[in-house]
């Protein structure tokens, strides 16, 4: 019996790990495409990548069920979105400004979402999603439809300095809502290193002050991420209240594709946190026998096709037409005044 249980757990872990890694592969390839489109001048505005942060993001997203749970991604969560179930076309259409995208060209890049399907559309102001997520869950609680749904959000080290983040986290803690708050501590906020951002040894030291459990994980360690995010999400789902996860890692690139990130010291890049979680994950998966080189190749090839199809589709689509635009912020069109 004991043996069986272990096997089951192993099977679950394997399936989960494969799900996460698959999303990582797809996200990495999609983002690489965005980067080259940007460099070719085909994406206007900024492109912000999650390169190096896929393990953290995807292992969170893979724990969430589309249509049931809620995800409030931030800048570097392509992998988490993919794992959660966001259609690649949504991302591609948004970046390319197709009128068919979920934002219809009105908002761009990482600001997309499908809020009624559980994917929040972030505003730029950092830290603001935590309370919104809390309100969504609170609504379900009030209506008795919360069930075992959970909400999750990611922020960076820099976003923890915002008053909004503090108020939001305090709120969900007071209400003991089923929330996972992941801090992807990539050592920098744009160019600003942690020592100019906060003074505690480790951001996980903040958890106790909010009265929530804190989990630490090496964000480059693929399997550790899968395990920690699953544990945190399950704890939230079990009704243990908000969970704070702090993952340490590095951005493997600039803040956005306009930035070369040259301010990141070489020794940090050469450190443990400079590892590429894709590489680490690959080695771990292959060592465990949970993935073969051939399968991986297949995933990659499939993802390339998928990405290319999305791009081709979006590129053929119309841009928004200013003459057909509603030009009102209100849902009640009759109140439009200009």
């Amino acid at each position: 019996m004991v043996v069986d249980q272990t096997r089951d757990t192993m099977e679950t872990s394997k399936e989960q790990a494969r799900k996460v890694y698959h999303a990582m592969v797809r996200a990495r390839i999609l983002e690489a495409k965005f980067s080259s489109l940007y460099k070719a001048g085909q994406i206007v505005g900024g492109v912000y990548l999650g390169k190096g942060q896929e393990a953290v993001s995807a292992s969170l997203g893979a724990n969430l069920e589309w249509g049931q749970d809620i995800f409030a991604p931030l800048i570097r969560d392509q992998a988490g979105r993919t794992a959660f179930g966001e259609d690649m076309l949504d991302a591609t259409r948004t970046y390319l400004g197709s009128v068919k995208g979920p934002m219809k060209g009105r908002d761009g890049n990482i600001h997309r979402g499908r809020p009624q399907e559980g994917l929040l559309a972030m505003i730029s102001h950092l830290g603001t999603s935590v309370s919104v997520l809390g309100g969504m869950l609170k609504a379900r609680q009030l209506r008795g439809t919360l069930g075992t749904s959970v909400g999750a959000t990611c922020v960076g080290d820099g976003a923890t300095s915002t008053g909004s983040f503090h108020e939001g986290l305090n709120y969900v803690a007071v209400e003991k809502l089923p929330v996972v708050v992941v801090v992807a501590d990539n050592q920098f906020a744009y160019s600003t290193p942690n020592n100019k951002q906060f003074a505690c040894d480790d951001l996980v030291d903040r958890a106790k002050g909010y009265g929530v459990p804190g989990h630490s994980v090496d964000g480059t360690d693929f399997l550790a991420c899968v395990e920690t995010m699953t544990a945190a999400t399950e704890a939230a789902r079990r009704g243990e209240g908000p969970q704070m996860v702090v993952a340490k890692l590095l951005r493997l690139g600039g803040h956005g594709e306009h930035d070369d990130g040259s301010y990141v010291p070489e020794e940090l890049k050469g450190s443990r946190y400079g590892r590429d979680c894709m590489e680490v994950g690959k080695a771990q998966m292959i060592e465990k026998g949970w993935l073969t080189e051939e399968e991986l190749k297949q995933w990659q090839d499939d993802a390339k096709v998928e990405v290319q199809t999305a791009v081709t589709t979006a590129q053929k689509e119309d841009a928004p037409d200013p003459y057909k635009e509603s030009w009102t912020a209100l849902s009640r069109g009759s109140f439009r005044e200009w």
Binding site: T128, S131, V132, G134, L142
Partner: protein
């Protein structure tokens, strides 16, 4: 039993809670305590889960309401004072107010703003900041001046799909009384002719409607002037048509507000009327606002900071003599 302006606010919330289970109330000290102004008195007893106390976190309070609204609820958030909404400002103008345009999903939140000055309240418990929320696209901004409007516009606002900023004037809370909430059925978006006249039009909103009426009475008594007073009721949308029709009758316009003088409601009115009704004007349209300084604590200073019946009369005389 007469009802007051604050009764109207409480009773409208009562009715909204009773009739629509998507409605809930959220704010500091609004539960058992009933709110700093008792606008939610007794409501938590009746709806223990749907009347919730908030931490001192205006940003999170609005954020929470946005989230709940996205999920289909109709949150009513009480700011303890409108002045503190400056801390929830970002979530209102950049999150709630942009959400429908960005995503197609409306955010039906109502934010109650105890606004306006009272003697001794000082710079941070007296502000009238409707301009902030009207300037940004995406909010409906209500400024009821009567007991009946306080009641019906709050209910109507809660029923709307867009974010509603409900500016309630603290000076009217207990002073303004009515026999009942019967109104004239005007919907949001329509201004009201509070007093008809033919020599000049005063456009006002919120507590200033009453000061304008007082001024009109003084001028009537003093010189037989008949001053028309228009109560805007909402400053966004702003009912240009009603104001225009009034100016067409009187040929003279004075816009009065309790807010700071630079930009804002009165400037918006004057700009609209001159753009479309230039030919109707027999005299330059005028504005009268509060002074361009923080709102002073001392009652003597406070009384001189905002428009008064006397200063409105003074402005009107200039207008009439043009």
């Amino acid at each position: 039993m007469p009802v007051t302006y604050i009764d109207a606010i409480r009773d409208a919330q009562y009715k909204a809670l009773e009739e629509d289970e998507r409605v809930f109330l959220y704010g500091q000290d609004i539960g058992k305590f009933g709110g700093a102004f008792k606008a939610t008195k007794g409501l938590q007893d009746k709806w223990p889960d749907r009347v919730m106390d908030a931490p001192i976190s205006e940003d999170a309070m609005v954020g929470m309401a946005i989230g709940a609204a996205i999920e289909g609820m109709r949150p009513v958030v009480e700011m303890q004072f409108a002045d503190f909404s400056s801390v929830g400002f970002n979530q209102i103008v950049n999150n709630a107010a942009t959400h429908f345009y960005r995503t197609g999903i409306p955010v039906p939140i109502t934010v109650r703003m105890p606004s306006g000055g009272t003697p001794g309240s000082g710079p941070f418990h007296s502000q009238s900041i409707e301009t902030l929320y009207a300037h940004y696209p995406g909010c409906i901004v209500l400024t009821p001046a009567t007991v009946s409007d306080a009641y019906h516009m709050l209910l109507e606002g809660i029923s709307m799909d867009d974010p509603v900023i409900y500016c309630e004037h603290k000076l009217l809370y207990r002073w303004l009384k009515s026999d009942n909430y019967d109104g004239d059925g005007l919907p949001i978006g329509k201004a009201r002719i509070t007093r008809s006249g033919k020599h000049a039009t005063v456009v006002a909103y919120s507590a200033m409607v009453h000061e304008a009426v007082r001024a009109a009475e003084i001028l009537k008594a003093e010189g037989g002037w008949e001053i028309e007073v228009v109560d805007l009721r909402s400053v966004k949308p702003l009912d240009t048509d009603t104001v225009m029709a009034s100016v067409a009758r009187t040929g003279r316009l004075l816009a009065v507000g309790e807010a700071f003088p630079w930009g804002g409601v009165t400037a918006e009115i004057v700009s609209r009327i001159t753009a479309e009704g230039f030919h109707l004007l027999d005299a330059p349209p005028m504005r009268l606002n509060a002074k361009d300084s923080p709102i002073p604590y001392h009652p003597k200073l406070w009384a001189a900071h905002r428009p008064t019946p006397e200063s409105i009369c003074h402005a009107l005389k200039k207008l009439l003599n043009y």
